[in-house]
Symmetry: C2
């Protein structure tokens, strides 16, 4: 079963209805390159290649739902840029420079300890597959 069907099956299991709009949005998200992300606006554009009949409000609502269900991750790449990706976008984190905005991908294995700690101490299951951390990049430290 591919990534798209996987997501759709999960949604069915949770009694969500599979509308053409949702299918197109999920497909757009899953069809990007492994290490790519899309903004809500970009997803909307890609969906409209197939049919102009998907409203931008529906894109926003569907993305909120997919994030809430844990099927898609919402990533803050600094101030204005918010992007989305499915779980097939492998585990890593984004180091975002708060000065120049540069984004560097980094290994996220070190977060495993954090996840275990948060669960054992607070019974909280943290999403650590794909997060952003802010700070100052090597360049901006002079």
């Amino acid at each position: 079963m591919n990534d798209i069907d996987q997501i759709i099956e999960t949604l069915r299991g949770k009694q969500f209805r599979i509308t053409p709009q949702r299918e197109l949005i999920i497909r757009a998200l899953a069809d990007v390159d492994e290490d790519d992300h899309l903004t809500a606006e970009e997803i909307h554009k890609r969906v409209q290649v197939h049919t102009s009949a998907v409203n931008i409000a529906t894109v926003y609502r569907t993305l909120d739902m997919l994030v809430e269900e844990g099927l898609v991750s919402r990533i803050d790449l600094g101030g204005d840029k918010e992007v989305f990706a499915t779980v097939h976008h492998g585990m890593h984190m984004h180091l975002v420079c708060r000065q120049c905005g540069h984004v560097l991908d980094a290994d996220a294995q070190i977060l495993r300890d954090v996840g275990q700690y948060l669960f054992s101490e607070y019974e909280f299951v943290a999403d650590l597959e794909h997060i952003s951390l802010f700070g100052i990049c090597a360049n901006c430290q002079q």
Copy 2:
């Protein structure tokens, strides 16, 4: 020297001009209780108690500047709620449930290792004093 003067001195050292607007905004931010945060809108309201002559755009721009300079932290408390606090708001993290929106404060000592790793491996100085992590809270796990 108190928190407010500290911030103002730092700004002066970086050639930023100290306008009445900026002073009021910094004061509003620093005058909250130790464990409190304010939204941009709330800061605007508090500033207007003193004078109605501060535009909301100036509040947004000043906050962006303070965050960029590392003097204030911007915290995402889930989707719509973004709050700000100065550094006197002690080190901890926010565990935000993506299902019910509940926010739990947690110890952040465990992030020290993460910070060291990111610096040694990527020369990135991460801001880990005050971050949010998303996931599922104990309650929403059934």
